[in-house]
């Protein structure tokens, strides 16, 4: 498990948990009036989650009209719309917490790259269909147990959203997982391509499970699932699917890190130039 530095992602000063990462001070759970520190943690979490979903949804939506078959031209946007829905929930919730008249769009369109807090995997260009579908599978295999755990946790908004998201993600796992199997156990070319995709994506998987003082504090407060629990389920899902796909055991040699601290790859700037074009070119207007 990788540990990231502790910097919250919303352009506000970072809460300082560095002194007590193993033994955080007692915290109020949401539902009670949350303490200021915990509110900052919750905001940081909403940016992380929101950005993961927004950026991956953006990548997925690039396929619309260009998929390998018409049926997939419908399937990929279905998943993209689910992701976009979760991003909007996160930003909308964050706007309510911040309470300064911000809207969901402010988070998506008016932050610069270093303020984004998504993992590096989701901003990588789509590559071929094998890369796209394997990335989707990894993300879904992580998010499904994540939301499943979240349904029983303390933040009512997130727990309620989890009820919906867990169903969406179950389908994402099934759809992308079946494709992983089909490509792994299809033709020599498809097996080579999914193998290449696995090599390319493996270093980005570890970041999914990264913890830092923010996430540890939120887990302790009963707001965020225990990443070890999520990872166990992720590993089981991946192992089962990879076996059926005749893919080698998934064993990453190392993990990239940095997204949760705003240290991204060069691709993000270009993605944002596209995503934010209208709001940047015509500031302050309503659409």
């Amino acid at each position: 498990m990788v540990s990231a530095d502790n910097i919250a992602g919303i352009g506000m000063s970072a809460p300082d948990h560095a002194a007590q990462p193993q033994d955080p001070a007692p915290r109020q759970v949401p539902g009670d009036l949350p303490g200021r520190a915990q509110q900052d943690d919750l905001l940081a979490l909403l940016m992380r989650l929101g950005d993961d979903h927004l950026i991956l949804g953006h990548r997925l939506s690039e396929w619309c009209g260009h998929a390998p078959m018409l049926e997939e031209d419908l399937a990929l946007p279905n998943m993209a719309l689910d992701l976009l829905g979760t991003a909007r929930m996160c930003y909308g919730y964050a706007a309510e917490i911040e309470g300064s008249g911000k809207t969901e769009d402010d988070y998506a369109f008016l932050r610069d790259g270093t303020a984004f807090r998504h993992i590096l995997m989701v901003e990588q260009p789509n590559g071929d269909f094998a890369y796209t579908i394997l990335r989707q599978f990894f993300f879904a295999a992580f998010m499904h147990p994540f939301w499943q755990e979240m349904t029983g946790l303390a933040d009512p908004r997130l727990a309620a959203h989890a009820q919906k998201a867990v169903k969406e993600l179950a389908y994402h796992i099934r759809h992308s997982g079946e494709w992983v199997i089909r490509l792994g156990d299809g033709t020599p070319e498809s097996a080579r391509r999914i193998g290449d995709a696995l090599d390319a994506l493996s270093p980005y998987v570890g970041e999914l499970f990264e913890t830092d003082s923010i996430s540890i504090a939120l887990t302790t407060a009963g707001v965020l699932p225990d990443m070890e629990v999520v990872q166990r389920q992720f590993d089981a899902t991946v192992a089962q699917t990879f076996r059926a796909a005749t893919l080698p055991d998934y064993a990453p040699e190392f993990a990239h890190s940095g997204g949760r601290r705003g240290r991204h790859t060069e691709y993000l700037g270009h993605l944002l130039a596209e995503l934010q074009f209208m709001q940047r070119a015509y500031p302050g207007q309503s659409w």
């Binding site: 049926e71 399937a75 279905n78 079946e178 089909r182």
Partner: protein, 98 residues
């Protein structure tokens, strides 16, 4: 188109049950290599607006259809058997609903 693509991806007929209590009815078709893919495609294509609670997919090639040329011999004989319908029988209103 290359020769490799000349093999056709099979066609499947899609049937959807709009809600429990209703029968599955035909809504259209999808292309898919196998039944797993066909079911997912049917879900993604035909239930985007909550149109269903259950899906059947059937290989189009497995459907045997009656011959339209035999339509008259198949279906017209039934038209004259009006005694199969309740309205054929005269029951006085006084008897009540029957």
């Amino acid at each position: 188109m290359s020769d490799a693509n000349s093999e056709l991806t099979p066609l499947w007929e899609v049937f959807i049950r709009p809600r429990t209590g209703l029968a599955h009815s035909h809504v259209g078709s999808v292309h898919a290599a196998d039944e797993v893919m066909a079911l997912q495609a049917a879900r993604d294509v035909y239930t985007r607006r909550g149109e269903g609670v259950s899906i059947w997919v059937v290989p189009s090639a497995s459907i045997t259809a009656s011959d339209p040329a035999q339509r008259d011999e198949n279906f017209e004989p039934a038209a004259s058997k009006i005694y199969r319908h309740p309205s054929f029988y005269d029951i006085p209103d006084d008897v009540g609903h029957m």
